[in-house]
């Protein structure tokens, strides 16, 4: 099947505005603005079953429907802070199929009545931001952004906003704080951004991949979109495959593809001909999946991955072969979360600090079994107590690695830390 999101793989120059237009570009935006009421657009996206691709999987149309028409102005913000270890899909979309993404931003803005939209990019995406600025200028030039679009009363401007290196800004309220020129620390919710968002105004925050699906739904209809994927997971998904595989990369596949197909059919199998030992299904935020036959044959959709005691998340699949010990893996993930904790809430700030100290003791071979038990207790104590998902996520790999790979946490554990 031809790609729907990674269309540049089939149409090489689709990042140029005239090529994008020749291939149906902006027809969805034109249809929405000239033929549909904003409410109709929201209903179409609701009916499509599209769920947020940033990790949480919340129904996109429902999110848009929460925006109240009693408080103005409204904003749309595209979350392009892509920073989850193992995730690199949004960058490919923005670099290579930018107009489909920007068209999605524009349709979302029309649907919720926003005249201004921001794209929040992580600071490292410096050159992606520069390139998007050019694409935005191309759209303004061609009349797809600016005043009175398609001769209607609707006007829209899109701006990029560059972050500066903070994983936490992928959390939507931290992201909004960051656009406001503050430290990126999450807000206490409720109120949710749909009511109290950017500058205290109703705001929709959507992931890049989520928005890139929107033009397809408007042109082809909700029923067509639902026909792709599985019952609870409509559409296609970009799986970012990394770690011990021969062909790491982004793979756009229907929901319901199995781990085995992703790793062996698409990813070319495990490096050095070794066996896959574990899978992180959602990057560093993931529970560790024991890669037995049952797991490998599990379809990758929201409900099925949950049966493995893990989450689909942003679908960043990190493959770990049998040369690796899980204590090494969680040393890496804990180090990451300790560094990225914003310091606002105590369970996360102190919890990640202590988890790091404990795993370092374990790595030095100090009283391994007692420190492992204590590490597990600290992680468990953090769960359901953190202000935002970052703190919660920091514990997922820790508790599951200890529970599912106990042999790796024995003083006698042998083998390399990684291959």
């Amino acid at each position: 099947m031809a790609h729907l999101l990674l269309r540049h793989r089939d149409i090489p120059d689709i990042g140029k505005i005239d090529i994008y237009r020749k291939n149906g570009g902006f027809e969805a935006l034109k249809k929405a603005v000239t033929q549909m009421k904003p409410q109709d657009v929201i209903e179409a996206v609701k009916a499509s079953g599209l769920r947020g691709r940033g990790g949480a999987g919340f129904p996109t149309g429902v999110k848009w429907g929460f925006v109240p028409n009693t408080i103005w102005p409204h904003y749309v913000v595209a979350n392009a802070d892509e920073s989850e270890p193992g995730t690199f899909k949004d960058r490919e979309i923005m670099e290579s199929n930018p107009f489909q993404f920007l068209e999605g931003v524009a349709i979302a803005a029309y649907a919720v009545g926003a005249n201004t939209a921001y794209i929040y990019l992580r600071g490292e995406f410096w050159s992606v931001a520069a390139s998007l600025d050019e694409k935005i200028a191309d759209m303004e030039q061609a009349g797809f952004l600016g005043e009175r679009l398609f001769g209607t009363d609707y006007s829209l401007r899109i701006y990029t906003h560059l972050g500066a290196g903070a994983y936490i800004c992928g959390e939507e309220t931290a992201l909004l704080e960051s656009i406001e020129g503050k430290r990126g620390q999450p807000r206490i919710r409720p109120p949710f951004p749909a009511v109290y968002g950017l500058y205290g105004k109703p705001t929709v925050v959507n992931n890049v991949e989520t928005l890139t699906n929107v033009p397809l739904i408007i042109v082809n209809g909700a029923d067509w979109y639902k026909s792709l994927g599985t019952a609870d997971s409509a559409g296609v998904k970009i799986f970012s495959l990394s770690g011990h595989v021969n062909k790491p990369g982004n793979y756009e596949l229907p929901f319901g593809t199995t781990y085995r197909e992703l790793i062996y059919t698409y990813g070319g199998g495990v490096t050095d001909g070794r066996k896959v030992k574990a899978i992180l299904s959602a990057g560093a935020s993931s529970a560790v999946i024991v890669a037995d036959d049952k797991a490998l044959d599990t379809p990758m959709d929201y409900a099925s991955v949950r049966t493995l005691g893990a989450d689909l998340g942003s679908a960043s699949v990190i493959v770990i072969n049998d040369s690796v010990r899980m204590d090494w893996v969680i040393n890496k993930t804990i180090h990451f979360f300790k560094h990225e904790s914003c310091g606002k809430c105590t369970p996360c700030r102190d919890g990640t600090y202590w988890m790091l100290h404990l795993i370092e003791r374990i790595e030095r071979g100090e009283d391994v079994e007692a420190n492992t038990k204590l590490l597990h207790t600290v992680a468990k104590q953090m769960q359901n107590k953190c202000l935002c998902p970052l703190g919660e996520f920091s514990t997922m790999a820790v508790t599951t690695a200890i529970e599912r790979f106990p042999a790796d946490f024995k003083a006698s554990a042998e083998g390399g830390k990684h291959g």
Binding site: E82, S83, E84, P85, G86, T87, F88, D90, R91, Y118, R122, G123, E124, F125, W126, S127, A130, Y159, H161, L162, G163, A164, G165, A166, Y167, S178, I179, E180, G181, K182, R183, G184, Y199, S240, L241, S242, G243, H244, P248, G249, N250, L280, G283, A284, S316, I318, V319, I320, V324, V329, K332, T333, F336, H339, E340, C342, H418
Partner: protein
């Protein structure tokens, strides 16, 4: 003065936000201020605080919170290697170690000529192209993917010739 050096850029940045929300411009202004010397000095902080209508402490807070801002001079180029889990599975730790060995420095240190500071950083969203590093310098930030130690050293040598 930023206002004299980058008048058009500052105007463009401020135009992105509602006129009463100038604080939103602080991050872009810091990126701009940092280009020339690789860090934000006291004068730039004061000027940015003035443009945004916030205090110098507010600006310092932002510099402290976000890892891409620096308040001290280091190498002209900051070469930042991702050593997170996905990259580490593909040899990023060894890459960093060997690169530093070739340069005769340790991670976090700067080459004696002041050209390059080598650091380990968190995920750069390029996990499929490890080893990968980004370079922060006078031209902003660029990515260098599918790296080998030889290719990295070659990049540094080319940069060194450019400086002389």
């Amino acid at each position: 003065m930023l206002a004299e050096k980058y008048p058009d850029e500052i105007k463009k940045i401020l135009a992105k936000y509602p006129p009463e929300r100038k604080q939103s411009a602080v991050m872009s202004l810091l990126h701009l201020a940092q280009l020339e010397k690789g860090f934000v000095d006291r004068h730039a902080m004061q000027e940015i605080a003035g443009i945004c209508g916030i205090t110098e402490t507010d600006v310092a807070e932002i510099i402290g919170f976000y890892t891409l801002y620096h308040d001290k001079p280091e190498g002209k180029l900051r070469l930042q290697v991702c050593t997170d889990i996905a990259c580490a599975l593909r040899g990023a730790d060894e890459f960093l170690e060997q690169l530093c060995e070739r340069l005769g420095i340790r991670p976090g240190e700067t080459t004696p000529d002041g050209l390059v500071t080598v650091e380990a950083v968190m995920c750069l969203a390029a996990c499929n192209k490890a080893p990968v590093f980004q370079v922060q310098g006078p031209d902003g930030i660029s990515y260098h993917e599918n790296m080998t130690v030889d290719k990295a050293v070659e990049f540094i040598e080319t940069a060194r010739k450019g400086v002389k």
